[in-house]
Symmetry: C2
């Protein structure tokens, strides 16, 4: 079991199913300890002003309340300069500068630029870091890239990661809610890859608590990127996209009009299914259904779970083998020539624009078949991660909580296509690659089985579902954050 | 420029567009030279009884007419034993045996087992080969695998390849037609990877002519597997599958009933489009359309070509980087657990079964929009291969002739889904991976552009199409084979 020591915060052990994990709870009452956690750090650099960069820079600045300077570093000529200035990071007050100058002047450097920029600039960044500085990452892509190259981090720095289990917009929005409801925020994992200062753990925990994480759990940087890249290719983004495309088409074939098909597929997944799982867990969703609806859920789950299991295993293999990271790097070269089109021009998403315009959230249907399909694929991801030995907290956050408390609410407000077209390049490439696979395999295998009354569906999968330890894990996780409305207007 | 020497056959130079290629024409009148080509070979082993193994063993046996023994080698307990016996390869007449015994007793060993079996057994096979023996391959997958492993072929053997540009069923069927029409057959490439005997080229040419190849052109084993794996993932199988799925859905959305949608998409591609291109080339197809139909072709071509170019480049990158071969190997492990479902259960292919039952080949429609989409993707593959420096013959055969003269006629008779579900595991995995990508990208990018009268379609692509050197290449290739009916009942 992973564990860690901290003298600044309180480490707790929580019982998750059949194991224990060492975690730290967050909350605004701990912000006065941040200077102790960051002892030896003269200033914190946040490099980049993407969704994570902008959210993290603002959260840390607000949490530190002037006790330690947070400086944003951007590339010369960056198009984000005005946005950073509007948020209060300015050259005049010494909190905005050219990235390499900021890196060279800081002891804790949070590198929140795109994966492509990390690949392009990592050697210059490594060279600019002070000896003994702490490099902070918010996911493990750079380690995966270095592994591919047979390269390593410089030996004379700390390398830590704090990985919020939600998109940047949620990291900021829930932090702000924390002013009214102490403890609101996005859970985060942390990882210590190198600790030459002996202060790496305190700094990582301080960073996470400063971001507003309700609770912070431990992982390794490798475990993080395996689950992060797999998760966004599966249920978090690629999987959910493929699921709703296939369901929409199926409802259309069954005779529903465009709006009704959209309600029963996309709106249902991103709205009532996600809300219910967020508040009542997966079993809570299941128990909403009785009689014929229960049967419909069970059959759909039994048809979708094997498809999901096969595909999530494939994705995991592709990530673990390095293929997926190589693909992202190769795509980076091609994008310079071909660009990347949007996915929102197809008839389904055009119909979705119309349907969202007339939506009444109070009246959305909770379709049991759609719920069964979605839960089947979600549980397949959970079981893949279990099988591969990931920590329970990572599994629950990367498979369920990030979906229901961050991404799906955002998709509900803005549309799945908008989400895919506006996320990180790595996630976007992954979603474009894997969504069609989920769509095709569900359409080829799962739905024909559902149409066929003689199909040999393995309903024993539902017994495994009902008895699954993840429900207890989700229950414990839910206790560690206050209930706030995570839905987006 | 690649070139070669032969004292047994006649090498010719043909002019293909702006270059020359050294080739050898085939024909039954050359069969009496085969013993000279195989000088030093005591017997030929054909290992495996899949589509290529069964076709090649029978063709070579028939061509050699008893002058040299062709022996089939199978794994102990192989399920193909009865089929080989029924074709006249028996233990009693000394032409059927256990594979390793047959390998050890032969000087020319044609290894026509599956890619997975090659990966699993290659070390044992290498150990069983006689020093100085010639190992023959029919595509380059094993070299790609060895490259991944940092391994090599044994140094004391010849390694040659003869790669028919068509499926096994066509290799046999067209060979049989050659009895009436001398020269009928499937073109083949050959490659010399290692030549310790000094006889490698003669043996490769003898093998190819013995199979009935109308003409044989030269490539390298690496060029072969790059184009072969890319081609089957793109226009030959994965691409055509994705194209027809997306077109079928589009025609359904436009209000056509299931059968009509099938006629305008699948039947049109595998029937009249393929026949026309086979007989009249791509320009011949284009010139079938006048007026509004010409405009429809041009707009469809201009919308599809960029999508095809982006995807074929992606596939090529994935193959060249080794990702695709690693994926196939990883899939081999997963298949032991998950198996592989068929694609034929989806509503479209169910409708296709019905539609094929009532089809009148004389009345099939040549839809100009469908033709434009198909040609756009095909030309994108051609241009990718041009850009990557493949020989013209390889480009034309791997992008056009194999499609129109072998695969599409077979799909026309049996269905695209049947084809995908019954081809080699490597091709099947590739098609399942890439077909959905073509479908999604056409649906997201190309079709919305076609619907939009203000879309900025680059009709200059049609000028490049009309002036493309591939048309001259196809014209020259067509002269080197007799016109026979390559369609399947």
């Amino acid at each position: 079991m992973l564990t860690f020591e901290t003298s600044v915060f309180e480490r707790e052990y929580i019982t998750l199913a059949d194991g224990r994990e060492a975690i730290v709870r967050g909350g605004r009452h701990l912000f006065d300890r941040l200077p102790s956690a960051f002892e030896g750090v003269n200033q914190i650099a946040v490099i980049g002003w993407g969704p994570q960069g902008s959210a993290q820079a603002q959260n840390l600045r607000d949490s530190l309340a002037g006790k330690l300077k947070v400086v944003v570093g951007l590339r010369a000529g960056s198009g984000s300069r005005e946005a950073a200035r509007a948020a209060g990071f300015t050259e005049e007050n010494g909190t905005l500068g050219e990235m390499f100058e900021v890196i060279a002047a800081s002891d804790l450097v949070l590198l929140l630029i795109s994966d492509a920029a990390q690949v392009e600039l990592h050697e210059q960044i490594f060279a600019a870091l002070r000896p003994g500085a702490t490099l902070g990452l918010s996911h493990g892509f750079l380690l995966g890239f270095l592994d591919q190259q047979g390269a390593r981090f410089p030996e004379n720095i700390d390398v830590i990661a704090v990985c919020p289990k939600g998109m940047g917009a949620s990291v900021r929005a829930l932090y702000l809610q924390g002013a009214q409801t102490n403890g609101a925020g996005i859970n985060a994992s942390f990882a210590i890859e190198q600790d030459v200062s002996g202060r790496a753990t305190e700094r990582a925990l301080g960073w996470s608590i400063g971001l507003g994480a309700p609770y912070t759990f431990q992982t390794t940087l490798r475990s993080e990127y395996l689950s992060d890249l797999t998760g966004e290719r599966a249920i978090l983004l690629g999987g959910v996209h493929g699921i709703v495309e296939s369901l929409y088409r199926r409802f259309r074939e069954q005779g529903l009009d465009e709006t009704e098909a959209y309600r029963h597929s996309v709106d249902c997944v991103t709205g009532p299914i996600s809300r219910t799982v967020s508040k009542e867990g997966l079993l809570g969703l299941y128990r909403r259904f009785d009689g014929e609806e229960r049967t419909a859920f069970r059959r759909a789950y039994a048809a979708a779970y094997p498809v999901g299991l096969e595909l999530v295993h494939e994705i995991y293999d592709e990530v673990a083998s390095g293929n997926e990271i190589r693909s992202v790097i190769l795509a980076g070269e091609r994008l310079k020539r071909f660009g990347m089109g949007t996915i929102d021009g197809s008839p389904m998403w055009k119909a979705g624009e119309v349907a969202r315009g007339t939506r009444d959230d109070e009246k959305l249907v909770l379709d049991p078949g759609t719920a069964g399909i979605f839960c089947g694929v979600m549980m397949a991801q959970i079981d893949t991660f279990f099988e591969k030995g990931h920590p329970y907290s990572e599994i629950a956050n990367e498979s369920v909580i990030e979906a229901t408390d961050s991404l799906n609410p955002y998709m509900h407000a803005r549309g799945v296509a908008f989400m895919v077209d506006n996320c990180s390049t790595t996630a976007r490439l992954g979603s474009r690659k894997w969504a069609p696979r989920f769509d095709y395999l569900l359409t080829q295998v799962a739905y024909p089985a559902l149409e066929d009354p003689r199909a040999d569906l393995d309903l024993g999968l539902l017994t495994a579902f009902e008895e699954h330890p993840v429900h207890e894990v989700l229950r414990v996780c839910a206790q560690m954050r206050p209930s706030v409305d995570i839905f987006v207007e």
